[in-house]
Amino acid sequence: MPENAANLSAERIAYLEGLVSRARTAAAVFTQYTQEDVDRIVKAMVLAGLEQAQSLARLAIEETRLGVLEDKAIKNMVATEFVYNYVKDKRTVGAINEYPDRGITEVAEPIGVIFSLTPITNPTSTVLFKCIMAIKTRNAVIFSAHPMAWRCCQEAMRVMYERAVEHGAPEGVFTCIEAPTLEDNHYLMRHKDVSLIDATGGRSVVRAAYSSGKPALGVGPGNTPVYMEKSADLDMAVVDIITSKTFDNGTICASEQTVVIDDEIYDTVLKKFAELGAHVCNEAETKLLGRTVIDPATGRMQPMAIGQKASDIARFVGLQVPPNTKLLIAPIAGVGPAHPLSVEKLFPVLAVCRASSTDEALKLCMEVNRAGGLGHTAVVFSRNDEVVRKFGEVINAGRIIVNSPGSIGALGGVYNDMVPTFSFGCGTGGGNSTMDNVNVYHYLNIKRVARRTQAHMWFRVPNQIYFNMNAVENVRHFPSRATLIVTNPALEQMGHVDIVRRNMPVETMVRVLAIPDAEPEVKVVMQGVEALNVHKADQIIALGGGSVIDAAKIMKLKYESPDADLEELAAPFLDIRKRVVQYPTEKVNRVRLVAISTTSGTGSEVTPFAVLTDKEQGRKVTLADYSLSPDVAIVDPQFVMSMPKGLTVDTGIDCLTHALEAGVSIHASPYTDSNAMQAIRLVFRYLPIAVENPRDEEARSMMHNAACIAALAFSNASVGVNHALAHAFGARFGVAHGRANALMLPHVMAYNAAVPTKFMPSPNQRAYVAHKKYALIADLLGLGGKTVDEKVRNLITATERLLDQLCVPRSIAELGISKEDFERAVPDLAKIAFDDPSWRSNPRMPLMSELVELLWQAYRGRGAAAEGVYDEECVVAQN
């Protein structure tokens, strides 16, 4: 016997299994139906429900002895007509929503077999409502009605079922348990072929549904607080409350339970209630009522009072009231066990409470809400929008009904534009999975078909780039009242600053700030900002290498936006478009940044990056944002003609590495490729000449251009693993950046050319192309080779030859670093390299073990091409 079959006879189990089997077959067959099929069936069912609204109401009254015939008939009509009005144009089959701009299509998937429990208070209307929802969404339902309402529910289901099948619905799509028991419910709630439990009813039913382990929509009791604020339209409010609270003798769980009334209007309101047929109880009557209709043991309403008329309740309690009394009003002084009538009362007894202020009223409403009504419904009558706003904020209710009746308002579609329902989700406050008015979308699994999107890409560069010999003359075209030239002492001594000054408009006041030729420190940057402020500068000319230009970029940032927090702006990010920390756009000052580079490597004159050293905290901060890019770049080779040989080599290799990494980056585009390829061509051709013959103007000019062009590429495509490794290694062993790059370069190229162990996720990369890009570069350089493999090998060989020609160390061992020292450093180096954002655009996603292997290859050095380390098998074996 199954675990869930305790206390059930074999016959009963067979009966329940039969229901499930029919429902399961119907649900399976139903998956084939189209939107037109279900819409046709739903319309026919709705008409059947409307035709039978009154007779079903009569059956419900006869069986349950609760409520009002006319109101139950209206509920049946709302459950059909109003629900139909909401669902008729809704797509619930196949593609139900298209978001072409996002590439998303939402597709409806039926749930299958739903086990649905319905309440005694709204029996037939709830069945009609759930039948319509089920057909609209192509689901089958097994109903388990309240034991004291199952006959009327079965009839409601029959009306719906027969009309549905007549119009093509699958046989067995609805079934209803005859004489249902708790054991039946227990069995079906745990049945493997039941996909969802939809439990509308009391606490125990909802709790059983949620504890079954099945997905469940369990919506339960409420305790609706009402705030009647002094600005309210009192006549309307009183009529609305009487209408709502007496509707079907108060059986709708959204009906008003306790009305909190501002002191100023309290007496008037009670008088109006009395004038319209309510009986306002005195203190003794209230106590008597509380003792009688509320169970003192549980603090909950007595079942015998549910859905009864006010006059019948009064008679039962022993109150003397006129026979046409609509409502019993019980003034209470607070909320909680000492005030038994402050709980839910599904009958026409309404508690009222006086409040001396809005704050007190809100507190009382919150207490009522908490006393069994969390997440359900609340009502406010007020013409003060601020009061309504505040009420909406502090009250935990899925439906906050404004200036209208609670019960009919919460049903939706009558007094407001909420979704029509007979099942009120109460959110987590009520222990429910939803806070919505339960509707067709809760009867669907909604699938998202997500088409591949292509992230927007960009090519952002400074507005103006002037190049070739004497390009510095162009500074005269930039009017400036006050300019700060940021440079370093050596360049000032060499006369470079004088060259710049000579070319500036005569009317410009010029000041010079010579800063140390090292990665800028915060205090140096702040000196510059102070100078800019004192000088009230409108232009900065950064004359120098990467350090000087980086310093000037940060000076500009802090001058224009003094509140910019450099540490915060350096926060890591994965995608610049989605970064958490945004650079300031509001500026106190405006200043033009003209960058004149005096080295041919970093390309800082066009990049959006700046590195800052924080000596106090002993760390480097990298800033990256396109707002850091200089406004004007001047690439004038006269400033690099005297660059020392070692610096020429280091910066030249840095430039080559920028271009090679940008070329195979996952962010590479035709725009960056054109720059990367051209820079590589220029480096291979002119770097050896510039090193061999430093006064060769053409070679210097072309290398200066190459550095800038490569920077244009990597500013937009970024770099890769080579830079990540070089940063980590260079910092640890004090090796110049270009030299560190050189040690890694052939090995990283071979690594990137092999089939990756892990591909880098990127919507922009439609295929793995790094090896083909290297082959393309080999073709561009005329290196020969017939296959992609040959071409890659030839490119790596050519790169190694170039490095040899430049006489750079080709292995870490050659630097005099012992194997033992290196071995000790490798684990940290790999970790640091892995944390470096540079590799995020690398075509291969590096594993830690691969970073370690690359470091060791660089230690041993030489022969990346000859050893064929880019060979797929070899790389796989290394892993």
């Binding site: 399961r24 077959t25 399976a28 067959v29 998956t31 084939q32 299958g112 699958p170 046989e171 067995g172």
Partner: protein, 89 residues
């Protein structure tokens, strides 16, 4: 009596009748019984039951039931009813 493999094209408008016909011919069938479902766009609850019965009878007759040309939406119904594994496709 000669026994042959069965190949029957199922008429989408008369699926139950075709399946009953196929069931009746299982006795004279050996090897496999192939039902060509390419003309069936949708099946209803009775047809699901008829397929269940056919699968049971084929198993009893030691005939391998094969469904040919089943459309995806019909296959989904067979999957949901755990019927798909009882047929070769």
């Amino acid at each position: 009596m000669t026994k042959n493999a069965l190949w029957l094209k199922i008429d989408g408008a008369h699926v139950t009748r075709c399946l009953e016909d196929a069931s009746a011919r299982l006795e004279t069938c050996e090897g496999e019984a192939v039902l060509d479902f390419s003309g069936v766009n949708r099946i209803d609850t009775n047809e699901v039951h008829a397929l269940e019965e056919f699968a049971a009878k084929a198993a009893a007759a030691s005939v391998k039931p094969v469904l040919h040309g089943v459309q995806a939406n019909v296959y989904r119904v067979l999957m949901l009813m755990n019927l798909a594994p009882r047929f070769s496709m």
